[in-house]
Amino acid sequence: MEKEMDTIKLSIPNKPEYVSVIRLTLASVASRMGFDVEKVDDIKVAVAEACTNAITHGANDEEGNFEVEFIVYKEKIDILVYDKGKGFIANDIEQPSISNLKEGGLGVFIIKSLMDQVEFIQNKEKGTITKMTKYVGDEL
């Protein structure tokens, strides 16, 4: 049986003002897929966190673009954020505690909490791919 999927690709300038554009695009795709409001909110935050990482840690080239892909399946969405730089450290995943409050580092923890599956893939010398998956239904 063929896996039916649609792929949407965005190429976005490495500029903070565009992260909200990505959120909105993703929200509209996710709503179309039948995600409920709470899940759409989760996905918006997760994609923004990944894009923020790509812009602040990833981009070598401030004038360039980074890529975001949405792969739409019937039962789930895969979101891939490609950053071109040295990547970021994805090990900081413990829940922050009062004694070790950090201003940075929350983003990865939040992505892992909100999405059903998360992978950080080293893209050879070219940076990191953050791959996030959310299922439309509640099966896990």
Partner: protein, 105 residues
């Protein structure tokens, strides 16, 4: 501008009331940081964030609040977050920040 901030100091409750309208993300978080730093350099008092018109926040905004909190908690002042949407409250809970800031309805 996707973030508007209005700040008023209350002499009665000795706290800054900060009304947020819009979204806090990587683009607008710096604006929030500048404003809150300005307030606490004027008066290092508690800050009450009014979130009824706050549509969105992520770790960039949470990070700003943490940074400000670290500065005022030495004077035993706190950050109160009032009237936030359930989806935003969820973020505070997931990150454990509901134990650091006071979340009120």
């Amino acid at each position: 501008m996707s973030l508007q901030i209005k700040s008023i100091f209350s002499e009665n409750s000795k706290q800054w009331n900060v009304y947020l309208d819009g979204e806090i993300d990587v683009y607008t978080a710096e604006k929030l940081k500048t404003e809150l730093n300005k307030l606490i350099s004027e008066k290092k008092e508690a800050i009450q964030i009014h979130g009824e018109n706050l549509q969105y926040i992520d770790s960039t905004g949470l990070g700003v609040l943490i940074g400000i909190y670290k500065q005022i908690c030495e004077e035993e002042k706190h950050i109160i977050v009032k009237n936030i949407k359930p989806s935003i409250k969820k973020l505070f809970v997931i990150t454990g920040l509901d134990k650091v800031f006071k979340i009120v309805e």
